[in-house]
């Protein structure tokens, strides 16, 4: 079985190994400096901490692969969290209802984003910037500006429970990652996502419904943001209309560090997951070393810029 069928071997291998090496190096340094770092409990901590960001990042990978961007994700997390919470009060609806409402709410927003971008030819940056404000307003309207609390225990279990001692958010992330990896590598839809981002005109000339592919990508992206919104609301046992501010930027950062090109067509969700892990591990390690969170922000910024410079270098060769 060929290792990777779509994206060429060399660039991809380099990019992956580069990230893996960087990740291993950070882990090595941290485990020497802090004995608490390399413990199973801490590994689970890191994974749980990154799960929401990583789910969002996997989602926005679809959009970025098509050459687009989605800035509305943080607001989608808030509005879907509030939406799910309003259906999650004890003894009202079965658990499936808030989950379905949260995800479908996200999908609907994504479809709207996609339609505005394809039908009305609004630049993705602008369209989703608008949606960012609209969805935030929606969250405030739905909740009346107040947190939606008093949620059912079954709902709160999603963000706080564990199965076989593994926190559920990690299991959700694992599912999202594996399914997305399969979709992008093995399905015709995944192939078309890469083609649309790599050269939209050529994709169209190949008979691909490029608009459909884009709308579907935004829908998947926002749908996953809806899922993240549910996890978030459940985790804090509240539907918070002010949740998720600037989450979209953290997600995009993970994608970029993971080697996905912002101009589309190149990248993978594996890279994205590694990117999210890298950020999460670094935050965790710097915490353990008692480095002030002020410095952590500076470090994160430097990594984003460094990753892009490396990427540019690689491609200009």
């Amino acid at each position: 079985m060929p290792e990777h069928n779509i994206v060429p071997r060399d660039g991809n291998a380099m990019q992956k190994y580069g990230l893996v090496i960087a990740f291993a190096a950070i882990c090595a340094v941290l485990s020497i400096r802090s004995p608490a770092f390399l413990t199973p409990q801490n590994a689970i901590n890191v994974l749980r901490q990154i799960s929401i960001n990583a789910i969002l990042a996997v989602g926005v990978t679809y959009v970025i692969l098509t050459g687009g961007i989605d800035l509305s994700l943080g607001s989608v997390v808030a509005v879907t969290g509030v939406l799910a919470a309003t259906f999650a009060h004890p003894d009202t609806y079965p658990l499936a209802v808030p989950i379905a409402v949260g995800i479908l709410g996200g999908v609907l927003i994504g479809v709207l984003n996609g339609l505005v971008i394809t039908r009305f030819r609004v630049a993705p940056f602008i369209a989703t910037l608008g949606m960012m404000t609209i969805a935030r307003g929606g969250a405030l309207i739905l909740s009346g500006g107040r947190p939606v609390s008093n949620l059912a225990a079954s709902f709160n279990f999603i963000g706080n429970g564990s199965v076989l001692r593994i926190p559920i958010p990690i299991l959700i992330l694992a599912g999202v990652f594996l399914v997305s990896r399969f979709i992008l590598r093995r399905t015709t839809f995944g192939r078309y996502v890469y083609a649309v981002g790599g050269n939209e005109e050529a994709a169209r000339a190949s008979g691909i419904n490029t608009h459909g592919i884009k709308v579907a990508s935004y829908a998947i992206c926002a749908g996953l943001a809806g899922l993240a919104g549910i996890v978030q609301a459940s985790r804090i046992t509240t539907g918070q209309p002010n949740a998720g501010i600037s989450y979209e930027l953290d997600a995009i950062a993970a994608v970029v560090i993971g080697g996905t090109s912002l101009s589309g067509g190149i990248g993978s969700v594996t890279g994205t997951l590694l990117g999210a892990l890298l950020i999460g591990t670094l935050n965790n390690g710097l915490d353990l070393l008692n480095v002030s969170s002020y410095y952590q922000q500076v470090v994160k910024g430097l990594i984003i810029i460094g990753a892009v410079i490396l990427d540019r270098r690689k491609r200009s060769r």
Partner: protein, 498 residues
């Protein structure tokens, strides 16, 4: 003093691009106060030559003498300072600035303090420049609000205003109306009176003979003839442009047209072409020939659903069909190899394999899931069939040579087993060996009963490959030529008629 009768001299100028020798020891002498026409087919090397003169390319062999002094310009700015100005085919201006701002861009009259722009002085200078060329334009109008001809005149004014000794005009008349061409001729005469040398690149022989004093003909990067206009006629120039014998790169074919498969009736698209009608038979190779802007590519794009046509009908197998998208065209058995493989043909960052199967993924997938095994088999077959050279089918397609990239685009079109193949410039920018292979393949496909419609700006391949040639000029069919009438000279004559 030698330079008294030679303002600019090229001595053995050569320039190569990977795989192509664009200029091969070109020597030309330009005399002062003359209009010197430079003509040749597409790809003859005119543009490369002008780009060298303007300092876009600095790595060339040979030397350029300006007023007897060796020119060592390191860039466009130096060329301008040396007194060489150029009016580009694609106009270069800032659309949201006014005529005055564009004319004086980079040299605005400004106050000493804070470099504040003196608007009144700018207007005055602009008015003066416009008066010089007799152009009646409001200096405060925005460039984007002018029509193409007016913009062109502004560009010409700008070029002249640099006190150029040499003004290069690249197809300046292509967007001008008859009336404006008259004015352009007047301006050129004025320039000549002021001692300026005009290098005039054009396809339109009629104009060349009216305006120019001397003419140099380029072909395949070489100078094939130079003469005073008074001592030569149009037929002679056409013969020089075409020149080459049809090399044996073209396969011998016997024409065996089958039934009509594609018919086009009064097809038109606003601003591109109109009233185009023709039939395409199975087993036939038909070419769309014409100069740049004649509408070749636009017709192909409409036939494949990349652009919408707003007039006329397309019939496939005698049935009228709407073609609104490439998906429609593919369903109807059309295949396309587009003009520019980089921008419309390939997805450069994907593998060779993914590029070949892109429009026919259903052939190698179960439902929505791609079978890598079946895909590999399909691709291996096409790669062997077309002899695409690549270390691995998973290689990024951008890393392949031009010829192999072109074959990849062809492979994608052929994978869907189309009945009608639309080829737009199928051999542009690839080496002779790859060209010959593509010609051979075209012959084989026609023999198998496929219909091929080729748009090409390369006359030898039009002449060498076509059973029939549809000659276009300014978006309309001027002539349909059968194989025995389709000589290069005859095609060119009809392409230049309007």
């Amino acid at each position: 003093m030698e330079h008294k009768n030679c303002v600019l001299e090229l001595r053995d100028v050569s320039k190569s691009f990977p795989g192509v020798k664009a200029l091969d020891r070109v020597s030309i002498r330009f005399r002062p106060a003359t209009v010197h026409a430079l003509i040749g087919e597409n790809g003859a090397g005119k543009s490369t030559l002008m780009k060298i003169l303007m300092g876009f390319y600095t790595d060339y062999a040979g030397e350029i003498l300006l007023l007897g002094q060796r020119l060592t310009h390191a860039g466009v700015r130096q060329a301008l300072e040396a007194g060489i100005s150029m009016i580009h085919q694609e106009l270069m201006y800032v659309p949201h600035m006014t005529v005055a701002e564009n004319l004086l861009l980079g040299r605005e009259p400004a106050s000493r303090f804070l470099k504040r722009i003196d608007r009144r002085e700018a207007r005055r200078q602009t008015q003066q420049l416009l008066n010089q060329v007799g152009l009646d334009l409001e200096p405060d109008r925005l460039m984007k609000d002018l029509n193409v001809a007016e913009r062109q005149m502004v560009e010409i004014t700008k070029a002249i205003s640099y006190h150029a000794k040499i003004v290069i005009m690249d197809e300046p008349s292509s967007s001008l109306s008859q009336h404006e061409v008259e004015r352009l001729c007047g301006i050129i005469a004025q320039l000549k009176d002021r001692g300026v040398t005009v290098i005039y690149i054009s396809h339109r022989l009629e104009e060349v003979f009216r305006i120019a004093d001397e003419v140099t003909v380029l072909r395949d990067g070489r100078v094939v003839g130079a003469a005073r206009v008074s001592e030569i006629d149009a037929d002679r120039v056409i013969a020089m442009m075409v020149g080459r014998e049809l090399a044996d790169v073209f396969p011998r074919r016997t024409r065996r047209p089958g039934p009509v498969i594609l018919s086009v009736r009064n097809l038109g698209r606003k601003g591109a072409f109109h009233d185009v009608s023709f039939d395409l038979h199975r087993g036939e190779i038909v070419s769309l020939a014409g100069l740049m802007g004649a509408g070749r590519t636009e017709i192909i794009r409409c036939l494949f659903g990349l652009d919408r046509y707003d007039q006329g009908q397309i019939l496939v197998n005698g049935k009228e069909v709407p073609i609104r998208s490439p998906a429609d065209a593919l369903r109807l058995g059309l295949g396309l190899v587009s003009e520019d493989r980089q921008t419309t043909g390939l997805v450069p960052c994907l593998s060779l394999r993914a590029n070949i199967t892109l429009s026919n993924l259903d052939l190698c997938s179960w439902g929505p899931i791609v079978s890598w095994g079946r895909e590999e088999k399909l691709v291996e077959r096409m790669v062997g069939d077309l002899r695409i050279k690549s270390p691995d089918t998973r290689e990024m397609v951008a890393n392949l040579s031009g010829g192999n990239q072109q074959k990849a685009v062809l492979a994608r079109a052929l994978l869907g087993e189309p009945n009608v193949l639309l080829l737009d410039e199928p051999t542009r920018g690839i080496d002779v060996g790859a060209k010959a292979e593509i010609y051979k393949l075209m012959g084989r496909l026609a023999h198998e009963g496929k219909a091929i419609l080729m748009a090409s700006s390369e006359l030898p391949e039009v002449v060498g490959m076509s059973d029939r040639v549809i000659v276009l000029s300014s978006g309309a069919v001027t002539r349909q030529l059968d194989r025995d009438q389709a000589s290069a000279a005859n095609i060119l004559r009809n392409a230049m008629a309007n």
